[in-house]
């Protein structure tokens, strides 16, 4: 049976219309994949940057903590040294060595 020419043309056009849909959907999927890949690579990179930065900060923290401990130790030592040189027992001895004597009499003026 021979089909009429118009019918064939009509069928051909129908087939063409149907096959256009998968072509468009495939293009969108590709874009999603690309964007996801881009995000993934980007985030991995950002994580690397942060991890690197944190590793450096760890060293900084270590140094800062050591500096705090050193300053606290120094503060304690200085406080003790100040107290020792300003002790009355030391001052009295120094005054005596330098020839100071206690007043024999004190006059009160009202």
């Amino acid at each position: 049976m021979k089909l009429p020419r118009d019918y064939k043309k009509e069928q051909f056009n129908k087939i063409n219309q149907i096959s256009i849909l998968p072509t468009v959907a495939g293009s969108i999927r590709l874009k999603v994949v690309f964007i996801s890949l881009f995000l993934l690579v980007g985030l991995v990179f950002v994580q690397l940057v942060f991890a690197n930065s944190l590793a450096t900060d760890g060293e900084k923290l270590s140094l800062t903590q050591e500096e705090i401990r050193r300053l606290e130790r120094e503060n304690t030592t200085l406080k003790a040294e100040i107290a020792e040189v300003s002790a009355l027992t030391k001052l009295a001895q120094k005054a005596k060595d330098d020839g100071f004597i206690k007043p024999k009499s004190i006059t009160t003026i009202d």
Binding site: A51, L54, A55, D57, G58, E59, L61, S62, R73, T76, T77, K79, A80, A83, E84, S86, A87, L88, T89, A92, I106, T108, D110
Partner: protein, 580 residues
């Protein structure tokens, strides 16, 4: 279509697997494995709180110190070589003080101690089974630097702190010292260090951090170190200048009068706070181990004694307060010795003053006159008053080892006990109780229990220390009457020659014989003087107590001159002008 579904399914499965794994790492495996990742963990010792005098001077502070340890497995030279170098640096610090001029005996002791240290170090280093052995504690930074200069392998140091006393032995009995408990931890003993140990000791922290292979901290890691909490600091009412004056004068008096033991306490009349407290002989808190243990106790609060004639003030104040006698009431029994309960009571100098007034009874320190007063009071009222004055119970002073003294129950009292107690024999009191009682007289009859700490300060709060007792024990009128009697006793008494001119001082001498093996030894006395000044507006109350003075047994010849010498210094120091 089937292939697409398969690929999609694989993607979903992989994604799910990743999420599950991430959840496991984040919430399950992370928590379980965190502690094992900590490379550095350990106790961070907390610094002990400081102690400050009223001028904010750190009379007890902290200093950097170290624990010296060895790891026997890492030692690669002969233990004896290490011991020879290290041992001389580990002996008592008394040998290294500048003041120490070593005699032959001391040099011999020093060499012996070095030998002992060498033996000890060799023994510890030879403990090859042990990984870590402590060689010494609390070594100074200077000692550490000297040991470091030897470049010894297997020898290390651990951070620590130690107490430092800038004023050396000043107020030693008051402060106490820090030693080690059975676990090797710092612990306060005696004085303020003992009483406030829980406040002064801090809370140790916990250190630790997750580290990378290079030893640097990993900040993303979850670990919360606990910082150490420093102990609370004490701010005292002790006046450093007054304390210095007191200790200086006490040292001179002990030498001059040949005193076996001397105690001086000064308190503020209005607040009851202790301004100075000293005892002799004393010790150096930093070198406490070098002194005998009997020196650690503070006799001002821990020792009891028979107060003798100073106690007459309490008996007289009680009778005046009850209206049983007046200052001009005449003693009708003062003609001579009395027999009470089978015992003869006489005066200390065998002199008798018939019809003397109550003012004169105090002036002459008349034992017979006091028996007259006590008989008017009776046992019940007498015991009631001495209890109200705080005898027979702890004052609550914030020092370790306070004694409560001995006051027998009323049922045990006999007539003779009342008679002898009225002039301060046969009862036991502490020096701090006497100060508390006379403070009440000086303060218009208002007794305020003594305290040494004004406030306790931590990082985030401040606690004011309040007295436990604030009560009216006698009326202001009685306080005024007894004050005038005390002023008269100073101005007309035997020690008047020593009193500084231009000041009205209220005081009373005391000479109590010491009971030895059931009887009183007339050659062994406790000589004392208690009083306050200026009498019209008292700034301080002071007690001087000398045990067994050898130059004279009497308080009027030993304790009274010391009282007046200190009072004179304090008038100048505090700018108290003489009256017109």
């Amino acid at each position: 279509m089937d292939r697409l579904k398969i690929v999609r399914g694989i993607i979903y499965l992989v994604t799910l697997a990743i999420i599950i794994r991430l959840v496991y790492w984040q919430f399950i495996a992370g928590v379980q494995s965190a502690p094992s990742q900590i490379k550095q963990e350990g106790r961070i010792p907390a610094a002990r709180g400081e102690i400050y005098t009223s001028d904010n001077f750190p009379i007890v502070a902290n200093q950097e110190a170290f624990i010296l340890f060895t790891k026997p497995k890492e030692i690669n030279i002969k233990p004896s070589d290490i011991a020879t170098k290290v041992a001389p640096l580990l002996i008592s610090e008394k040998y290294s003080t500048m003041e120490a001029e070593l005699g032959e005996d001391e040099l011999e002791k020093k060499n012996k101690e070095i030998e002992q240290q060498e033996t000890s170090v060799i023994q510890k280093i030879s403990e090859e089974k042990l990984f870590w052995v402590q060689l010494a504690r609390k070594i100074t930074k200077q000692t550490k630097e000297k040991i470091e200069s030897f470049n010894l392998s297997g020898i290390g140091f651990q951070q620590d702190t130690r107490r430092i006393y800038p004023e050396s032995s000043m107020a030693a009995h008051l402060l106490g010292f820090v030693g080690s408990n059975q676990f090797g931890e710092d612990m306060g003993y005696f004085g303020l260090e003992g009483y406030y140990d829980n406040q002064l000791r801090g809370k140790d922290g916990r250190g630790g951090q997750i580290e990378d292979p290079l030893g640097l901290p990993i900040l993303v890691a979850k670990f919360e170190p606990i910082p150490p909490k420093k102990g609370n600091s004490l701010y005292l009412s002790i006046d450093r200048g007054a304390q210095f004056i007191v200790e200086d004068r006490l040292r001179q008096a002990v030498e001059k009068y040949g005193v076996k033991q001397g105690v001086v306490i000064i308190s503020d009349v209005k607040s009851g706070k202790i301004l100075a407290m000293a005892s002799s002989p004393t010790y150096i808190p930093n070198l406490f181990a070098e002194f005998t243990e009997d020196l650690y106790r503070n006799p001002a609060v821990a020792d009891t004694y028979e107060p003798g004639s100073t106690f007459k003030l309490i008996t007289m104040a009680s009778a005046l307060d009850q209206g049983l006698v007046e200052p001009n009431t005449k003693c009708t029994v003062c003609t001579g010795p009395r027999r009470i309960g089978g015992y003869e009571i006489s005066t200390w100098n065998k002199k008798y003053y018939p019809n003397s007034t109550m003012v004169e009874v105090i002036q002459h320190s008349d034992n017979i006159g006091m028996t007259f007063v006590s008989q008017k009071l009776g046992i019940n009222k007498f015991v009631d008053y001495i209890t109200r004055f705080g005898f027979g119970q702890k004052t609550g002073v914030d020092l370790q080892d306070e004694a409560s003294g001995v006051i027998r129950p009323v049922s045990d009292w006999k007539e003779i006990d009342l008679a002898t107690a009225s002039f301060g024999q046969g009862i036991a009191v502490t020096p701090i109780q006497m100060i508390q009682a006379v403070q009440a007289i000086a303060n218009g009859g208002r007794l305020i229990s003594p305290k040494i700490v004004n406030k306790i300060v931590s990082d985030d709060k401040k606690e004011i220390v309040k007295p436990e007792k604030d009560i009216q024990v006698i009326s202001p009128k009685t306080a005024s009457q007894i004050t005038e009697m005390m002023v008269n006793a100073v101005e007309q008494g035997e020690a008047k020659a020593f009193a500084p001119q231009g000041y009205r001082i209220a005081g009373k001498t005391g000479t109590a014989q010491i009971p030895v093996a059931g009887h009183y030894d007339s050659e062994k006395t406790i000589a004392s003087f208690i009083g306050f000044a200026p009498a019209d507006d008292p700034k301080f109350v002071m007690l001087i107590s000398f045990t067994e003075p050898s130059s004279s047994v009497f308080g009027s010849e030993t304790a009274a001159p010391t009282f007046f010498a200190i009072a004179k210094d304090l008038f100048n120091y505090w700018g108290i002008s003489p009256r017109d």
